[in-house]
Amino acid sequence: MTRNAREADVLIVGGGPAGLAAGAELAAAGAGRVEILEREQEAGGIPRHCHHGGFGGRLTRSLYAWTSATRSPYAREGTDGPAYARRSVAAALDAGATLRTGVTVTGWDGPLTVETTGPAGLERITARAVVLATGARERPRSARMVPGTRPPGVYTTGELQQAVHLYGQRIGSRAVVVGDEPVGHAAAATLRAAGVHVVAMVTDRPSRTVRPRHRHTPLLTGATVTGLTGRTRLSGVSLRHEDGRTTTLRCDTVVLTGDFVPDHELARRGGLLLDPGTRGPAYDAAFRTSRPGVFAAGNLLHAVEHAEFAAQEGRAVAVPVLHRLAGTGEAPGGGPRLVVDAPLRWIAPNVTGPDGARPQGDRFVLRTARRLPRPLLVVSQDGRELHRQRLLSAAVPGRPFHLAADWADRVDPEGASVRISAY
């Protein structure tokens, strides 16, 4: 087998918002040969197929997913997804980064060496620093263990948006959208754009926490999907309401939205330590993973934040990467881990250190498994309370909330894991 061996100063795996921003920043800073590898034929990542506005807009509000609803007031700010993707690509190229599309990293062949496949052949690329920016995906029907038959007509938002916006494929006539996070509303908007009647949106959240977003689409709250029916084509979605009632919605299309997970295969194959909560690589405020020289940025670390958040991380990762290249970086991590107690699901970053580094925006981002009205967040280590903070609004599943980071210098670097609890 012939593999062409090459070298780069920085190798960035993934040409979405985080990877492109990292490439642009590093190339502009004179990091040497900065190479971004994108496995799709076009770079840009998820925004390529998000035909709604809001990309690159104001960040202070909770415009958090890579998709926010077209009807959202925030959506008028910024630009649409494809334009954002093009702009991100242009910025990376203008800065002098090398962007190679249609090239897939298939595995590792050393601590900072990856193997690739592309139409031009096989390569083995060794870099002085590697940035993983492989992003996140929605969990499909199988991973959600939705029982029933396996007919065509079952989509995730990602597949639906590509089918409609990139390929102009026929979808169906009647659709049910599962999930009412912004990504669910984006899916509904894509369906309507494709001429599909949205029969209903379904969420397992109880009704009091949910506001209808579209006047023509009924929102069914407190309902879980119990099965799919149909043989040559989907014929219905069976639901059970929290009060025990069951029903079947007649439809030929269902879109399972949200429920993002990091696309972490490469990180795992490389033996990187994963955070049990995020399922992405464990990382500290300098975006360092458990392996020296391997950094990570974007939604691989936390599924998911919005595109501009990922891009900001991409820009921020440049600093520690440059330190690494200059040999001025601190000795890699190994600081105490941050762990959350149920019902909190995860916190990011989830490793403390290095000294003096604060997470992006000077705060940690968290998720909860169930709704917590104005929770009290308590940070402790070895039974010692480091910080307590009352949130002024509810913490809701699927949406980010934040914890101030000004206690970070009180962590004992030799101590046990730092616990974050919600009351």
Binding site: T104, L122, R137, T149, P152, T156, G158, E159, Q162
Partner: protein
């Protein structure tokens, strides 16, 4: 070479077996196939491949739009040794013979097979006590390589096994095989040798006369001199159309969960339950695609179309899987499916020839059918000859190489020479399964092409991975629709 695979239109043997010597001189045979096989599953395609070696005009028909789309596509994909068969039964003989035939055929055609071995794990004293009996049964079946392992040996072979395993019977020759490539290889060879494959062709009625049979199908009439019933779940219904009432197929549903490739390192062998009065257990097995399988359930049903999974079934599997391999439950699920086994309430295959009717029934082929398929093909050939079919001199079929879907064998995306020759093999379309444009293009223009995205998945693995199409689904669909408008 004239290759005939049809999904619409009349069912005529024109051009069938182009090199059949001077058969067209027989006026009475005009418009009539010599042999028709109903059912293009792994058994039907194996029979058709056997018939293709002879100068006969053969038709292979199926109600579905693809070969291997019933029980053959949704099973546990194990190439059995037959160690636990009922000694002396037809099944025991055909599994034993079929195993060697298929292992050799797989090696020759590139069907992925991995000899991972099986461990029948004992979780209680009763099961532990049953192991010597199972070993003795294996010996009676002519299988002498099995060995009983104590708890320590078992643990060193399977370090991720749940607590409480007391020992195991090791059957080193149990193997895993690609369940999709196998019938596709049979069908491809048969079709290339002149067999007509008619899909979307459901048999509604059968009329028999002195000259043979007239099948009334969803695609019109089909005349055939000899008839083979390999209709799987529907074999009893076809049998009744010929006036017999000797067996009833009761669909036994098996739900299975396929775990992500990142779970593959958790298990090294096929982990089988010890059969016993405590009820049926489930197995955990690697697949040739690099996944881990958990299942199946065993549910007796009436409905031969009930291939849906259920919340109860999946819950049961997860509970049993948690005991066998606790860490497996933390991994992502790539697919959930349910297959129906053709149980007849009998302990053996129901293969029966009816010379007066020029008819052979092949019923009750259970989960061992994949392993036994080639031996069943030979056996049915013998029965057809005994029934009066002049089979003529067999000839060797031209060799065949199937596209490799197995993780343990070289795949195009890692083949520099192939990519240099054609960059399409370096263009990945399905990222989770590393399927290239070249492989998808090849499958779409193959001898037996797919007629659905699922059919394409079974030929390439495209969109069969952990994302189930989130990344590549639309692209794969575009390629499929472009090739098959």
């Amino acid at each position: 070479m004239t290759v005939t695979v049809t999904t619409t239109g009349p069912l005529s043997p024109e051009d069938a077996q182009a090199n059949a010597p001077a058969r067209d001189a027989r006026k009475d045979a005009e418009g009539t196939y010599d042999v028709t096989v109903i059912g293009a599953g792994v058994v039907g395609t194996a029979i058709a491949r056997e018939l293709a070696r002879h100068p006969l005009r053969t038709a292979l028909i199926d109600a579905a739009d693809d070969i291997g789309s019933g029980t053959s596509k949704a099973n546990t994909a194990i190439l059995h040794t037959g160690f636990d068969a009922d000694p002396g039964s037809l099944e025991a003989r055909l599994v034993r013979e079929g195993r060697d035939l298929l292992a050799a055929y797989a090696a020759g055609t590139g069907i992925p097979v991995e000899r991972v071995g099986a461990l029948l794990v004992a979780w209680d004293e009763d099961q532990l006590a049953a192991l010597p009996r199972l070993r003795a049964k294996a010996e009676r079946n002519g299988y002498h390589a099995s060995r009983i392992l104590d708890a320590g040996e078992l643990r060193s072979r399977e370090p991720h096994l749940g607590p409480g395993a007391l020992g195991a019977l090791h059957v080193p020759d149990e193997s895993i095989i690609c369940p999709w490539t196998t019938p596709l290889a049979f069908a491809t060879q048969a079709v290339r040798a002149g067999v007509h494959l008619h899909l979307n062709c459901r048999v509604r009625d059968i009329a028999c006369d002195a000259g043979g049979h007239t099948l009334t199908t969803s695609r019109g009439p089909l005349r055939t001199r000899y008839l083979v019933n390999a209709a799987g779940l529907y074999a009893d219904e076809i049998d009744r159309l010929l006036g017999h009432d000797v067996f009833t197929v009761t669909p036994r549903r098996g739900q299975l969960i396929v775990y992500d490739k990142l779970a593959r390192d958790l298990v090294r062998h096929i982990l089988l339950p010890v059969p016993g009065p405590a009820g049926k257990g489930v197995l955990v097995a690697p697949t040739v695609f690099g996944n881990v399988l958990l299942g199946p359930t065993a549910e007796e049903l009436d409905d031969k179309t009930a291939t849906g999974s259920t919340a109860d079934g999946l819950h049961e599997l997860r509970e049993k899987g948690r005991r066998i391999l606790p860490e497996l439950l933390d991994e992502e699920v790539t697919a959930v499916y349910a297959g129906l086994r053709a149980a007849t309430g009998q302990e053996d295959y129901r293969i029966q020839e009816y010379p007066a009717q020029r008819y052979v029934a092949v019923g009750g082929i259970r989960s061992t059918g994949l392993t036994a398929s080639m031996a069943i093909g030979r056996h049915v050939m013998d029965l057809l000859a005994a029934t009066g079919l002049e089979t003529g001199e067999p000839r060797a079929l031209p060799p065949l190489t199937m596209p490799n879907l197995g993780e343990a064998f070289p795949r195009p995306y890692r083949n520099a020479a192939l990519i240099a020759e054609d960059p399409a093999y370096g263009t990945l379309v399905c990222h989770c399964e590393q399927v290239t444009l070249g492989e998808i293009r090849d499958a779409l223009s193959a001898t037996v092409p797919p007629h659905s995205l699922d059919g394409l998945r079974r030929r390439t693995r495209a969109r069969g991975g952990r994302c189930q199409g989130f990344y590549c689904g639309a692209a794969v669909r575009a390629l499929f629709e472009e090739a098959r408008p």
